[in-house]
Amino acid sequence: MLLSIVSYGLALGAVYALIGITYNVMFAASRVFSFTAGTVGMLGGVFGALCIDRMGMPVALGFLLTLAAGAVLGVITEVLTVRPVLKSLDQHLYVLSTLAFALMLQQLTAIEWSTEPQPFPRLLPFGPGFFDQQFWLPISACVLTIIGLEWLYRRTLVGRAFLAISEDNYAARALGLPEQRLRVASYALAGAIGTLAGFTGGEMMLAYFGNGPLLNFYGFVPVALGGMGSNRGAVAGGLALGLFQQTANFLVGGIFASVAIFVVFILVLLVRPEGFAGAAPARRV
């Protein structure tokens, strides 16, 4: 029983962590939080089931198509909802524009796909049990993503350019970095990571349009608590959240787990609005 709590909790936590990383990658490129983070996560599951189950594609092709669709959605998010409002960042219009786009995607899924949870195909012939793929797939996806991002940011020129625009947008532009193209690329990357979360967690969470808001919230909790922009914080927070949720689910029931997470989330933010690892906001006058 303990084993199932741990494996299920870690797997769920890995999905949350990946959504948290999705938030972070978009935030780093544009100082914008996007409501589409959870929505692309949800779509990862739906696209996977659509390609593999409904259309009978091979798993590898379905996987690649899903990631590509995520990247395309990321680009659309940037062009349609972020770029037009970047000029007036202080008015926080991005909250509304990304919310609108996320709602459109979610409603479209509800109407065109289904409002009921649909099964997600088994991808590889492993399991059941502790080594069931539905558990280790999201966990390894999360590990690979973190390693990949670290490699990208620390070892490649493009990655350093990403870091430069997230550190100081104006200075980066003054140095001649193609800020806009890098931002689009970041959004594409974020979209792909989001669908990766939904795809690898698909068997566990099913292909269900209602996962969107859920992932939005539970993906945001570790990011907010860990401090915006910190991927390691997001992973640590996500895994802890998943484990806590599963333990509470098992011991006292899901409702109390949800209420407890919500209360902790609010209390921590009230005490430390910038999160555990974040810095206090700068001067404003």
Binding site: A100, M104, P213, F220, V259, F265, P273, V285
Partner: protein, 599 residues
């Protein structure tokens, strides 16, 4: 202050006529609503009832979203809460049955408390975080409703309350809801046109300036969340009655989206706009049956279009008055003689002393052991090269930054460090380097924001348009009009502030500061961007202000202006006081010439 009310100011009359104009569309909607049963269409009646109930909630939420600018997207949680509280109390399953009215009242109380709980994070958190907490709350309430079977009936649900005669019949219930909706419209319109409404908008669009005139964000937001939560829960009780039976399924997130988007489509800072938005969004899917499944999708598309293309919403489109072209070649003609009506003559001299102030940002010592004494009745110039700490000094005096060392004393009483909103009560006012005004509000409203701390009526008094509120308004209006006339902008009182030229905005800021009847007035580069003629008039205005008994601290780069009008000048360099004395002494000071003035 009494004689200022008798000043010949024709514009005040125009304002009163304007408010009648503002009521006309609402009155027409009310008459149409009252006449609706004549059509005898019961289906139409249900839709209209639903729109009225939604409006009860949206009118309250409008103060949170439209006025305060808080992105509260999960307000369906309070509707759910109110629906269950009312239904459970009326059903008598948990405790003895209560009358529906009493149950609605209790729901309102519970809603107020939960509105406050949901709202509290807004005091500390940034927009997106707050949006997330409301979203999280919305999911949790539904889950609790599902799980707490012994009270809520779980997935099976509970019957909704039935109002007693004469409101039991569908049309009777409709009139009840319509009456409540009208009451809410009236109350929120009163708030919108009160110091509370203006303060909310100021917090939304110019938070720093709002603090400088003494608006306390926590107190105001707490009040608004209580009010909005109560209305939402009462709407929930009525919603349950209309549904006649409620399950958690009835409270989808789509409802939250509808409420939220109705406000944004209507336009932020308006009452009529969101009212029309609510009616349109409620009715639209009903009259276009194939659209029902697509309704939330369409709302979302509408939201995106509004945000990207028409940020002002319906209210902006209906604002014909502000499309009339303004006179092209306007001149600002201050009438300093009017200042006597604004600033009361003070018998004794006051002193504002900066003692040994130091503040560093990181490794940079922005100000270093600064001493400075301001006297009422004098103009004190503060000059120095860029980055010498002038604005930082101003910000420490007005309480935005707590100094790391030293203090500011007003007549030998230390001012609380870092308490910006408390300065207005000490009658210390200021302007900003970049004018901080509410672009969507009229010039007059912007100036009236300065009268916030002078208001005596409570939120409830304003809500119900009681005498004290009307007296407050009349006084604030008269004071603001006089201040505008004094700086020479009374002709533009009813124009939206964002249509003004830069130089005019600077004078509006001075007018807003004057309404505080300042003992000390801090001006941060008021002459920047002004023409030579305007600078001359500004100088005369500042001198007259000081001769009324106000101490002026003038941060400026225009050396001519400084040496023309200042009684004393202090020069800062690299955060330290380089020299201090009369203009003549400073002009001849060798180090000042080297560091700043040039030969």
């Amino acid at each position: 202050m009494n004689d200022s009310a008798t000043l010949p100011l024709p514009a005040v009359q125009r304002l009163k006529a304007g408010s009648l104009e503002a009521w006309l569309p609402t009155a027409m909607l009310a008459i149409a609503g009252a006449a609706l049963p004549l059509l005898g269409d019961s289906y139409l009646g249900v839709i209209a009832t639903r729109a009225a109930i939604y409006w009860v909630l949206v009118s309250g939420l409008n103060l949170v979203v439209g006025f305060a600018g808080q992105i509260a997207i999960g307000w369906v949680a309070l509707l759910t809460l109110g629906a269950y509280v009312t239904s459970v109390l009326c059903a008598g399953t948990v405790m003895p049955e209560l009358s529906a009215y009493l149950a609605l009242l209790i729901a309102g109380l519970v809603g107020a408390i939960f509105g406050l709980i949901i709202g509290l994070p807004a005091l500390r958190l940034r927009t997106f975080y707050f949006a997330m907490t409301t979203l999280g709350f919305a999911t949790i309430v539904t889950q609790v409703a599902l799980a707490w079977k012994s009270v809520t009936g779980g997935g099976v649900g509970v019957p909704g309350p039935v109002l007693p005669w004469p409101f039991a019949s569908p049309w009777g219930f409709y009139y009840f809801c319509l009456g409540l909706a009208l009451l809410c419209t009236w109350m929120t319109t009163n708030i919108a046109a009160s110091r509370f409404g203006r303060s909310l908008v100021a917090l939304r669009d110019a938070e720093v300036a709002a603090e400088a005139v003494g608006i306390s964000k926590p107190a105001l937001l707490v009040t608004v969340f209580l009010f909005s939560g109560a209305l939402a829960a009462i709407a929930g009780g009525l919603f349950a009655s209309l549904q006649s039976y409620i399950t958690p399924d009835a409270f989808t997130f789509d409802l939250s989206v509808l409420f939220f988007i109705a406000i944004l489509i209507g336009g932020r800072g308006s009452i009529l706009g969101p009212l029309l938005g609510t009616i349109i969004l409620t009715a639209l899917p009903e009259f276009a049956a194939p659209l029902v499944a697509w309704s939330t999708f369409l709302y979302a598309v509408l939201l995106l279009v509004i945000v990207l293309a028409v940020p002002g919403g319906i209210a902006d489109m209906l604002d014909f008055k502000n499309r009339r072209p303004l006179e092209r070649h306007r001149e600002i003609r201050p009438r300093p003689e009017l200042l006597a009506h604004i600033i009361p003559p003070s018998a004794q001299e006051s002193l504002l002393k900066l003692e040994n102030l130091s503040l560093s940002f990181g490794g940079v010592r922005a100000i270093d052991a600064v001493h400075l004494t301001l006297r009422t009745g004098e103009v004190h110039g503060l000059i120095g090269p860029n980055g010498s700490g002038k604005t930082t000094t101003l910000n420490v005096i007005s309480g935005y930054y707590p100094p790391q060392q030293g203090q500011v004393r007003l007549n030998d009483k230390a001012l609380a460090a870092g308490a910006a909103a408390a300065r207005a009560n000490q009658r210390i006012a200021r302007t900003f380097q970049t004018p901080r005004l509410v672009g969507s509000a009229s010039v007059l409203e912007n100036v009236m924001i300065g009268a916030t701390t002078a208001g005596r009526a409570s939120f409830v008094e304003s809500l119900l348009f009681l005498p004290r509120h009307r007296r407050d308004e009349a006084r604030a209006q008269a004071a603001a009009m006089t201040a505008l006339a004094a700086v020479g902008l009374d002709q533009l009182a009813f124009v939206r502030a964002d249509r003004l030229q830069h130089s005019e905005l600077r004078f509006v800021e001075i007018a807003r500061a004057l309404v505080l009847r300042p003992l000390f007035l801090l001006l941060d580069e008021p002459a920047a961007g002004l023409s030579v003629e305007e600078i001359k008039r500004l100088g005369a205005l500042i001198v007259t202000i000081s001769r009324q008994g106000t101490g002026v601290l003038l941060v400026e780069h225009h050396a001519d202006l400084i040496f023309d009008i200042c009684d004393r000048v202090t020069v800062l360099n690299l955060g330290k006081v380089l020299a201090s004395g009369t203009p003549a002494e400073i002009r001849g000071h060798r180090e000042v010439i080297n560091a700043y003035l040039g030969a």
